[in-house]
Amino acid sequence: MTYLADVAALTRKDLRVELRARDTLPAMLLFVVSVLVVFHFALPEGTGDDAAYGLLWVAIVFTALLGLARAWVPEQEHGVLDGLVLAPSDRSAIWLGKTLATLAFLLTAQAVALPAFVLFFAPLDATALAGVLLADIGICAVGSLMAAMAAASRSREVLLPLLVLPLAIPLVVGGVGAAISPDGQRYLLLLALYDGVFAVLSWASFEYVVTE
């Protein structure tokens, strides 16, 4: 139980920092809506809905990357991470708290972006929405670990997309497949498998990444 309490406290801390400083979420919101507008001009007339679904996934992945790039900045700036690592709690709770906070930001950004997508481009059905939710979980789980690795490097902002994009390819396949394939369930299964495997791996390996 104390583990869950630690996770809840860490998530609450991130949400509170964001509520006060408003560093990440407005940027993500503005970014994803701007990208959708850019897509309107990038998609020639008559390319069809399928191309729009593909571009939606580009927008989702890049918005997530934007949020993840900021994820560990408060911890880095004030040496908070050292304190958290020294705190008498399981280190993986730090990862889980960060994942949940990033997921909350991403879902909030999508609460605006997805209606805007439906308005501008094409409808989304329940399978497509389930695909978005599952892929969000996957990218936040893997991304918050990768962001912690990138934050310790010299070229942090440059490194993060390079680390995450190859890992995000199965998520894009699953998300686009869930949106455009008549047999979307198979793609949801792929996403669920991805989430399960990589969440466990990230959860188990986080400790090795943050300890000196």
Binding site: V142, L145, M149, A150, A152, S153, R154, S155, L159, L162, L163, L165, P166, L167, I169, P170, V173, G174, V176, G177, R186, Y187, L190, L193, Y194, V197, F198, L201, S205, Y208, V209, T211, E212
Partner: protein
């Protein structure tokens, strides 16, 4: 690394050269011509062993990475790095030979409908990012552990990417190995085995040479620091 293991390298290199020479002779002369694809099918005897060796190197790198995380012995860091370095080199060769084969049999240098090629492209990008990560973190235990974690993600990414690419694309790559066993004649299979052995030995030799070089380099640096 002791001098005895370094002394064994020239012998290993000679053996590797002999085996590689016979593999090429087998592939070009002994193996029968494929009825469907003609001479271009012969690249199969190089392309597939290279691809398998590349997977093997990535697997070895992840295994050493797991050992590093589990036992905390820093010597596994270099071993993991060298294995992944070899895997990336063989992965790039897989992309090149695959591209040549695609050109010969389908008339295009690149096709997104070949799952193996797409998978190797994803893996190649992934492991290039591994080097980016490694070279932008200060040397030390933390870099070793971060690299190890990333290497472990790589072996998990291989089957999941494969599944994803297979779901995403039509499967038109010629399937040589089916569930009923290898779909080729005994001579072809023998040729394939010789080539596979040759490429594996070559990869092992390169792994040992690079490891020996990197260790000597580290020892030298330590000595220099001790003398200053």
């Amino acid at each position: 690394m002791s001098t005895a293991t370094i002394r064994s390298l020239p012998g290993l290199a000679a053996l590797s050269a002999v085996l590689m020479g016979s593999a090429i002779a087998f592939a070009l002369i002994v193996a029968p011509e494929d009825a469907d694809q003609g001479i271009s099918q012969r690249i199969f005897y190089i392309h597939v062993p290279i691809a398998l060796t590349s997977y093997f190197c990535f697997g070895l790198g992840a295994w050493k990475a797991l050992n590093l995380l589990w036992r905390g012995d820093q010597r596994y860091d270099l071993e993991s790095y060298v294995a992944i370095h070899q895997g990336t080199i063989f992965g790039a060769l897989t992309l090149i030979t695959g591209s040549i084969w695609a050109r010969a049999s389908w008339g295009v240098w690149w096709t997104w409908s070949s799952n193996q090629l797409v998978l190797f492209l994803v893996l190649f990008l992934f492991y290039c990012a591994y080097f980016m990560l490694r070279f932008s973190v200060e040397e030390g235990p933390r870099r070793a552990r971060s690299s190890a974690v990333y290497a472990l993600f790589g072996v998990v990414l291989i089957p999941i990417s494969f599944l994803a690419i297979r779901l995403a694309e039509d499967f038109i790559h010629p399937t040589v190995f089916t569930r009923e066993g290898p779909n080729m004649t005994a001579t072809m299979f023998a040729t394939f085995c010789v080539s596979w052995a040759a490429v594996t030995l070559l990869a092992y030799l390169l792994y040992r040479v690079e490891l020996a070089g990197k260790r000597l380099d580290a020892d030298l640096r330590e000595l220099r620091e001790a003398l200053q």
